[in-house]
Symmetry: C2
């Protein structure tokens, strides 16, 4: 790979519609990083704001001819540096690709990648349908980015993750070929499962330009339980008691620091003294829902909850869910963040949560932990002052140790954010040599020049740019 | 690839546990074909009945060294010839790999591939849990085969297909390397989505030796509606009216010939004069379920149903579902079968069903059609007398024309059975050149010698055995 030359860039500008290519370094600088604020992100030679599949084909044909790296970018809300630019690359932004159609008979949405997750949900809701996956960032993350990272969210404990809803994709490959994979059919086993291979590939195999999503009937009204605990261990035990008896529609965890960060910023009336808080929902209709709420309440009470509050008021439940979603911005207000996304098998959840506390103590760093507890996916948020180099170093060590702990517990370094750039160096330790080799074989088969999102997920081959 | 030589076979026998290798041609002949009864199936040099991952690693290391083709085989219930042997190959049977463990806290099953689907369901049920995918053949098809074909079934319209439940796999690759992909976590996005790539790969990329399955809470009791129609078109219209308003737990279609075949064999009291029958279930609890059943009944009545019967009696509902499942054996009793598995987008369902009737008329062959109507997946069963060469030829033509019709309607040649050997020649026509090339790239990257299930799905390269 080589950075784009000036004459090559002229060629690209000429091949694309007017205004599609941004070259001003002050403007392109805004496309260097995503929310991970990766300090190692490079400087793009240009940003292409594509409007259609053909634009992206043009970019990839050109990039293949000139061996220039290409970094795909959705809304830039990624938390692992999956959209970190590399020096001299072309950033392909899908922000202008915003068409969507809903077919209520087939119960599918066909959407371009640039819509926000919330906009997809809204379009579906207009037909009484629902697109479940709900990253906390659903209002500011794009559906293309969701597909590229196989994003999760709060309701996934019951409703599954992004890949469970992706029936078809249109993808531009490294050489500029556009392929349509899958389609509106729930059942289609003709050929290899390539649709699912591209979901979660973080732009390393191709660029997604259209997504066919399965929709389901609108979610029934949910009832909500909020429970406070004096210890993280008790809350974690309550989680296991709940999940071994039922499948909640949401089961979230917040630790002491997270509770107080939220109260400082949005004032929900959460119990500031609690060491842990669980937020659970049931959306089972009628008597089944009442039974589920009883099961949750009892599991909390049996495991030492100091306070348990249940409500079937929608607005109240939504407000608690919003409070949970407010943790990330609230903690961000306290300093810079290294954002973890580790997951473990359910039984190991107590060990993970208490282990993270021990790491924080040991390294004297603040770690606020929130978790999609019902599926074992946790977000320890490591807070540091960027002006304090020693604290930054300790935060970096904590970031690695949390991943090491998750791996040791049989878990994953990333449940829903992606490997991106920030977690790339830990991937071999989780997957092992043979699975890494298999990842590379697929990557090399589909992107032999290594021009697609080099630097993310899988380290690029020797002699290349990054 | 070369057929296994006698000295090479001695080496294989010596490397495996006593009794693992079957060499007697009378015995190995029983492993030549699956239920598709592919007349082009070859004769295996040997059958290996593996008991563990290591046995299969031994076979694949040996096969790579000697360039001998290997055909993986589950229960042999495949309907597309995905387990058709090739001459001189080793058939690897997983029938002896029958261990399973259930973790009710993580709500997962970890199973070897040799258990029947029904056995997995039973093991889950012992913990109050449910493994939803339910091919009609669930009592005689293996879970390994289900994963290898991404099998579907009746409840998939609401609960999704096999891949939606596969969280992790252990797979032996072409060179004998064993890899563990994914695991018990609902959320795990570390590296490419290789787990999902192997699901539905029909033994062409590796041999699945262990499967981690997501389980969900036991299905609530279902209510059932049976409706008779004077025309296929009216029934198809009723299906669209149902699916655009709700998501049934089952929505099956039987045509006139299928109804009568079942009545001839099991006597369910179905209306023999009906031209079409719909069988629908709702498992929504309480009032929600009552509403769903009302919606179904009304959709049938509004679209000309001559008779509508609703029941919340479980045994009665199960009996109707069993009647639907009895279609395949009942029609098989009438002659030999070419079994179709075409699917179309929901809106095109009426055109597909009536188009199949036209093909039957035109070619003067009997085609009984049953369908998982709620997800657009249909099984036209083409009946022929094997002793009548002219009829066999017409049946073959019909088999192709039905697939051509599905492709023309934007559908698939296979919704849930797999491409196998029988549908391989139609795959390029559905996928197109570019997607075929992408399939080949992945196949070649993972199986460079082309020894894994050659002949199935993707035609093997020039100069090889088949």
């Amino acid at each position: 790979m080589t950075p784009a030359s000036s004459s090559a860039l002229d060629e690209l500008v000429a091949a694309l519609p007017e205004g599609a290519v941004l070259l001003d370094p002050d403007v392109t600088a805004g496309y260097r990083q995503d929310w991970a604020a990766d300090p190692t992100a490079g400087r793009p030679a240009a940003v292409v704001r594509a409007t259609c599949t053909e634009d992206i084909q043009t970019v990839m044909r050109w990039a293949t001819a000139h061996r220039v790296p290409v970094v795909p970018r959705g809304a830039g809300s990624g938390l692992s540096g999956g959209s970190s630019a590399v020096d001299g690359c072309i950033v392909v932004s899908t922000e202008r690709m915003r068409q969507i159609t809903i077919d209520p008979v087939a119960r599918v949405a066909v959407t371009q990648p640039g819509l926000m997750n919330a906009e997809v949900k809204k379009a579906a809701a207009e037909h009484g349908l629902w697109y479940p996956p709900d990253p906390s960032s659903f209002e500011i993350c794009s559906i293309g980015g969701n597909a590229a990272t196989n994003a999760g969210g709060l309701c996934c404990v019951k409703y599954g993750v992004t890949t469970d809803y992706v029936l078809g994709l249109r993808v531009v490959l490294a050489d500029g070929t556009a392929v349509s994979l899958g389609g509106p059919l729930l059942k289609d086993v003709a050929g290899l499962s390539l649709t699912k291979l591209f979901v979660g590939s973080e732009g390393t195999l191709g660029i997604i330009t259209e997504i066919t999503l399965r929709l389901i009937p609108a979610q029934p009204p949910a009832s909500t339980v909020v429970a406070s605990f004096d210890s993280v261990q008790e809350a974690a035990d309550a989680v296991l008691a709940i999940t071994s008896n039922m499948r909640p529609a949401m089961l979230e965890f917040m630790d002491h620091a997270s509770i107080n960060a939220v109260e400082d910023s949005v004032r929900m009336g959460l119990n500031r003294k609690a060491h842990a808080l669980l937020l659970a929902q049931s959306d089972a209709p009628g008597a089944a829902g009442v039974l589920e709420i009883e099961t949750i309440v009892q599991a909390c009470e049996n495991n030492g909850a100091t306070e348990v509050f249940a409500t079937d008021d929608q607005a109240e439940g939504d407000a608690f869910a919003a409070a949970r979603r407010a943790v990330f911005p609230a903690v961000l207000a306290m300093g810079s963040l290294l954002l973890e996304d580790v997951g473990v098998p359910m039984r190991a959840l107590p060990q993970l949560v208490t282990g993270v506390e021990a790491i924080a103590d040991d390294l004297d760093v603040l770690i606020c932990t929130v978790a999609h507890a019902g599926d074992g996916n946790t977000h320890p948020l490591i807070v540091f002052d960027p002006a304090d180099p020693d604290m930054y170093e300790r935060a970096q060590i904590a970031f690695g140790r949390v991943m090491d702990l998750a791996i040791a517990l049989g878990g994953t370094i990333t449940g829903e954010h992606g490997v991106g750039r920030l977690k790339r160096d830990w991937l071999p330790s989780q997957l092992g040599e043979d699975v890494m080799a298999l990842n590379r074989k697929v990557k090399d088969a589909l992107d032999p020049l290594g021009i697609l999102n080099p630097g993310a997920v899988i380290a690029v081959k020797e002699g290349s740019l990054d």
